[in-house]
Structure formats: structure tokens, C-alpha cells
Amino acid sequence: MTHPLARLAFAGVLAVLGFLLPRLLGGSSLVYDTLVAIAIFSAMSYGLDVILSDLGEISLVHTAFFATGAYAAAILTVTYGFSAWTALAGAVLAALALALVLGVITLRTREFAFSLVTYAAAVVCMNVASNWDFLGGSDGIVGIPPLDLSIGGIELTAGRSAEFWPFAYLLLLLTLYVVHRFRRSRLGQAALMVHMNPRLATMCGLDGNRIRLQVFLLSAVISAAAGWLYAFQRAYVGTDLFDTYFLVLMLTGVILAGRRILLGPLLGTALLLSQKSFASLGAYGDKLVLGVVLVGVLCLCPKGLASLWPRRRAAAVTDAPANTNPANTNKARFPSPVWERGQG
């Protein structure tokens, strides 16, 4: 599987199988609903994934990017009657604008300061959304039309979940491709370096703040695109989009399988949402399961379930840049505490 063509073929087969998955699973509307939700929410999670895995920070504002995409789609189609394509452009622009403001604000904050500011930003966004009539206030916005992405003579519309699946799946594939390319791009490599060894990155002439900002913008666009599609699927947007449940879902999805594994967030999200669809314990029970899974994974195997599988572990290790000082592997992976930093 080292040959690039072989890899490409393998990815192609996997992609086709993935597309046929709902039919292979029986094609009931529950299966379609679940798989559409998995596609959309894992696409959303990839936005957070690049922040968490590649920058090593926890952003708590990604629910707001997701909501921004959804709200932009709702307002542009319902209030102004624009097409779904325009709504997509609007969603991306709105998320970029929000991410730019937040990115500049949070540039100089790290670890929990970064998380707290992003959390504060999410609270402000939710507060604004539930009070501003333009955004529908606490009632939200209802009556979002069915998705219509027709170009010229080609009719591309979707109402029910079964019709929605190709669009959700395409969004997911696109997201996977973007994240894959990002990790191999100069920006992705630079981000990892800024995360693992900021001092060395600075000495190599990398502008850490600029790189962080760029990654932040990229991640916002990914989550917003997912939110855009979600608005059409649900035909309604409201302040429940800001619910912590989504945030915890994203985080659990990202860490469940393991960080910096391309399919990790997809598998994590799929596991969690499948439980919710096929083995639900009610709203409270599902919350409990989600929380227990998250705590369990981090306390028992903080590197994710994939680390229990020796072959994947080796792959995950070689994925990260070699760390020459074995004593520092632990420290380099995560920001070191203040009292250790002063000594270097």
C-alpha cells in the first residue's frame, strides 16, 4: 500500500463502499437519517479536529461556527430568498468574518486562556442569537426550503434523508480531502511545528500567530459548511445549535479514535451517533453515555482507541515529527506548564 496509485485505488473503493453503505444497511429511513447525521456532524468535527490535533488547542467556539453556517443559510434563503449556492457563499464568508475577529482576539492566548476566550465568544454568540430578532431570537428561523443546488439544466435537489445522502456524503468526502491535503501542505506542517516546538518554529522563520490564524480560518469554514447543510436538512435553525451537546460530541468524536488519524473523527462520530440512533437510552441516558465515553477514553487511554491497536500506534507515531530527545516526548506533545518553560 505504499504505491500512491494503490493508495488512491484503495481510497476510491472505500469511497464507493461508503456511498453504498446506507443501501447495504437496508436503506431504511432511520439508516439514512443516521448516516446523514454522521456525515454532517463528522464534517463539523473536522473543523475542530484541525485545531485540536494540529494546533494542540481546544476551541470551544466551533459550535458557533457551525451555527453561523446554519444561520447564514437560513437567513439568506428564508429572509432574502437567495439560492442555496449563495447561502453557501454567505455561510463561508460569515464564518470567515467571525473567525477573523476571534482569531485576532485569541492570537496571543494559549491553552486554557485560549479555551476560555473561545468559550466566552460562544456564550456571546448564543446570547446575541437568542436576543436579536434579525436572527430569529429565541424562536429561531423556520421554513428553510428544500436544498436546491441545480446548475443550468442539471437538477440537484433534496428533501428527504435518502435524497440528502449524496450531498451530505459529498460534503464529507470534500472535508476529508481538504483535511488530508492540509496535513500535507506547508501550512499543515508549519502548524504542527508551531504546536510541537514553538521556539524552533520561530527560529525557522515561521510566524506562529499568522499560522494559527490561518488554521483557525480554515477550521471555521469546515464547520460552517457543515452547518450550512444541516440547516437545509433540518429546515429550522435555533439557539439549540449552541448546545454543549454538540461541542462534547465534536470533542469526543475527535479524541475517541485518536488524534491525527484522518478517519478518526468520522469513526468516533459514527460510533456515538449510531448509539444514539440504534441503542438510545433517552436524551439523558445518551448524555450520560457521551460523558462517560469521553471521560473513560481520556482517563484510560488518552491517545485514543487506535493506540490500543499496535500497528496503528506505530503509524500514528511516525506520523508525528521525530523528536530527538526521548525525555521530552511527553512535554513536546502538549504545552508544558509555566514552571518548566522558564528553565529552557
Binding site: 496571543r108 492566548t109 476560555l116 468559550y119 456571546v124 448524555k287
Partner: protein, 289 residues
């Protein structure tokens, strides 16, 4: 508008903010742990107090004691769960794990206590004191008094006692603390138990002011985050001052500008403070002062 009354309201709310924040301040200062499950621990404290009164008919003050004991136990459970991450100072994973812990608590509380709003009935909530143009409830007075007491005791304990020195040592350098012959995990146990007990105590005193819901966790304590950060992370006196300041700010902003945007305004204040003075967030420097 009665400005004096708004000031009184602000002082009461401010002390509530500070009391809710005190455990987290210590936890953040000493273990560098951002507890995003703090709100759910608050919710559990309020519901345990309510349940004790509703199910057993015990008086309010005993319900407060029960909530505090259960809160301390919850803190101890957290310590057992998070010890490995805390010792290795894996801050990113610690933050995520507390989010999951809060989510689990919320789910469990939903299953145990149901979706209906409840009222934690304190007899002191019904008694009010009128002083000239202003009034407040006896519960308010108890809240303010208890907050001042908790902060004073914590400050003294940290600075005048052997135990406090141990906590400050762990905050500065947990590994070096072991060379002083201390069992670091036991000191962490005390810190986590204090966090649990303090937030439960705060919940039992503050919750009678409003109906309680199992989903209230995050909303009820959003201000705590602002208090802890604006107070200077880990600073005990700073939290008190910040709590009071934000209480006054929300009371006056709500009365003079817009009650709906109060939370947004406070958080905008926080963001502004962070942008203007990022150095303030340099953790651990101001711990315990």
C-alpha cells in the same frame, strides 16, 4: 430607578458569583485544571439539597450540610479519575475530560431528578430586611456573610497554615513537592474535595433565589469563568474583587442598558480585558494572592 437598591442587588449577586467561583479558583491555581464541569457540579449540589429536603423532610441547614458532603465526595471522585492527567499536567486533555465529566453529571442528574424545574426552599428566602430605601432577604445576608467567611478562611489557610503552604507548593511545582516528603496525590485530593464542597455550598446558598433545572449547569455559572479569569487566574482575593465588580456591573448594566444583553456585555468585557492585558492571564504567577 432606585440606584441604592441596584447597588445592593449588585453586591448580593457579586458575592454569589465569587462564592460559586472560589473552589474553581483554587483548583485552577493549584492544579491548573480548568473545570468545565463546574456548572454541573453546581447543579448537582442544588439538586442534592433539594432532594434531601423533599424526600426526607430534613431542615434546610441539614440539606446544606448534605450537599457539601456529597460535593466533597464528587470532588474526590474527580481526583481519582483525573489524577494521572493532573500529575502529567496534560492540560488539553484535562479540559476535555472535565467537559465530559459535566456531560455525564447532567445526564445522570436528568435520569435521577427528572426534567421538571424544582425549587430549593430556604426559609430565609421568605424573610426580608428593609433598611431605608433598600431591602434584601435574610438569605442574601447569609450568602454575603458566608462568602466573606469562606474567602477569609481560605486566604488565611493558604498563607498561615502548613496545609496552605503544601497547596502552594503543589501549585508551583508538584514534582518538587514530593521531595519534601509529601504525597502529592493526597494534596490534590484535598484541593479537588474543596472544589466539590465549595461549589455545592455555593449552590445550596445561591439556588434558593431561582428555580433549578438539571440543564442549568452551564448557564448558571457562565459568570464564574469571567470571575476566575478577570480576577487573575488562581488569585483568591482577585476572584473576590472580580466577583463583586461583575455583580455590580451586571446589576447596573441590566437596570440602565439592557437586561437581555447582560451576559454578552460581561463576556465582551472579558474579551476586551484579555486583548488589552494578555499578561494578566499568565497563570500561576498570582496564585493565592
Amino acid at each position: 430607578m432606585n440606584v441604592a437598591q441596584q447597588l445592593v442587588n449588585g453586591i448580593v449577586i457579586g458575592h454569589a458569583y465569587a462564592l460559586v467561583a472560589v473552589g474553581w479558583t483554587l483548583l485552577l491555581g493549584a492544579a491548573r485544571l480548568v473545570n468545565f464541569g463546574h456548572g454541573q457540579m453546581y447543579m448537582i449540589g442544588a439538586f442534592v439539597a433539594w432532594w434531601v429536603m423533599a424526600a426526607t423532610g430534613l431542615p434546610y441547614w441539614l440539606a446544606v450540610v448534605a450537599a457539601v458532603l456529597l460535593g466533597a465526595a464528587l470532588g474526590a471522585v474527580m481526583q481519582r479519575l483525573f489524577l494521572r492527567l493532573t500529575l502529567s499536567q496534560d492540560l488539553v486533555n484535562l479540559m476535555i475530560v472535565t467537559l465530559g465529566f459535566g456531560q455525564a453529571l447532567e445526564g445522570a442528574a436528568g435520569l435521577a431528578f427528572g426534567p421538571k424545574p424544582q425549587t430549593l426552599a430556604s426559609p430565609f428566602q421568605e424573610m426580608s430586611v428593609h433598611l431605608g430605601p433598600v431591602w434584601f432577604t435574610v438569605q442574601d445576608a447569609i450568602l454575603v456573610g458566608a462568602t466573606i467567611l469562606v474567602f477569609a478562611l481560605l486566604y488565611l489557610a493558604l498563607h498561615r497554615s502548613w496545609l496552605g503552604a503544601a497547596v502552594r507548593m503543589v501549585a508551583e511545582d508538584p514534582r518538587l513537592t514530593a521531595l519534601g516528603g509529601f504525597k502529592v496525590s493526597r494534596i490534590y485530593m484535598g484541593i479537588f474535595a474543596f472544589e466539590g464542597a465549595a461549589v455545592a455550598f455555593a449552590a445550596a446558598l445561591v439556588a434558593p433565589r431561582t428555580p433549578i433545572l438539571t440543564s442549568m449547569g452551564f448557564d448558571q455559572v457562565v459568570m464564574t469563568f469571567v470571575v476566575v479569569v478577570l480576577g487573575g487566574i488562581g488569585s483568591v482575593l482577585g476572584s473576590y474583587v472580580a466577583g463583586l465588580g461583575i455583580g455590580l456591573f451586571t446589576a447596573l448594566f441590566g437596570a440602565l442598558v439592557s437586561p437581555a444583553y447582560t451576559t454578552a456585555a460581561v463576556f465582551a468585557l472579558l474579551i476586551a480585558a484579555m486583548v488589552l492585558r494578555p499578561g494578566q492571564l499568565a497563570a500561576s504567577g498570582s496564585f493565592a494572592r
